[in-house]
Point group: C2
């Protein structure tokens, strides 16, 4: 066992095939424990954001959509990829507006997690929007089909505590909300 | 908005380049909202498992390792990929043993999340091991360098509440533990 972190040197780097969501990069790193060169796969992609949006009636705004990875419909917090020219909050607000039609001005940054630190270079930023209200209509991409679902905060908390949400980034956003902000509602 | 889920038909499916961690599949699905055909990227891979392992001294077993995705060291729960011939718990126990040398017999299944339902077909299974103790030595792959770190349960909970863990699957496992099992320790 190592007593503290040692830097892994990058031996070389190479790009793999272009996917739709990611740019695939292979890195060869020298393992400081063994000295051997190891090929690692990294999926490069933009950061994303999701939003805990709460209406004046203490409802949370969720989206139900078909997730092709697991081949089923999920209930998730609204969110998506932050565009290159956007700051995080602008991207979060745009994704919320496009997916649900909800908007507002009372934003709080809750925190972040890595998308998946093992092989992805991006982060997911979690935001809270208080006093969310309908400000526009849905504007969906051709690849999207999104149903807006309002759930009472207590119902969300119960479901979250029971492990009822499948998307890890929905779970982590709710965790930060219920730990940090719950008492202010 | 749709009143309830409608099945997306699969138009065709095609395999992309073989990566090291995944098999890349492209699916073309017909969006029931628009009727248009959409190309989707799916990364096929095996399920994985991670473990909340607790010693008799109320310490949790963590691993510190370099995560090439985000290019930094993280503190995570031990875990890894479940091999094809293993059941989930056998895989969880093997990964715990190989990464940390800890083992035991008092296992509980905590629940699961999708790895990432947007583009991955796999799940992460969360396990609890009570009365964890050192039963063997670390057995690391050539691509691994893992430092075992023991943290007091209260310290873990504090850090978790503050959003101090970067790996989403560590956060979701801890959530199920602190929601379901905390009172029994």
């Amino acid at each position: 066992m190592l007593s503290r972190p040692v830097k892994w040197e990058k031996e070389k780097s190479e790009y793999g095939p272009e996917l739709r969501l990611f740019r695939v990069r292979f890195d060869w790193l020298i393992n400081p424990r063994t000295g051997s060169s190891e090929q690692m796969t990294i999926l490069e992609g933009p950061d994303s954001a999701n939003v805990v949006a709460i209406t004046p009636a203490r409802e949370m705004v969720f989206v139900r959509q078909f997730r092709v990875g697991i081949g089923q419909y999920t209930l998730e917090l609204p969110g998506g990829i932050i565009e290159q020219e956007e700051d995080k909050r602008t991207g979060a607000a745009r994704e919320l507006r496009e997916e649900t039609g909800y908007g507002g001005s009372d934003w709080t940054y809750l925190g972040k997690v890595a998308s998946n630190p093992v092989f992805m270079d991006s982060y997911v930023h979690h935001f809270l929007l208080r006093h969310a209200q309908i400000t526009s209509t849905q504007q969906l991409d051709s690849g999207e089909e999104v149903e807006v679902v309002l759930l009472q905060m207590e119902e969300v908390e119960k479901r979250w505590r029971q492990g009822g949400f499948l998307h890890p980034h929905t779970v982590t956003a709710l965790q930060l909300f219920f730990q940090q902000q719950r008492n202010s509602f």
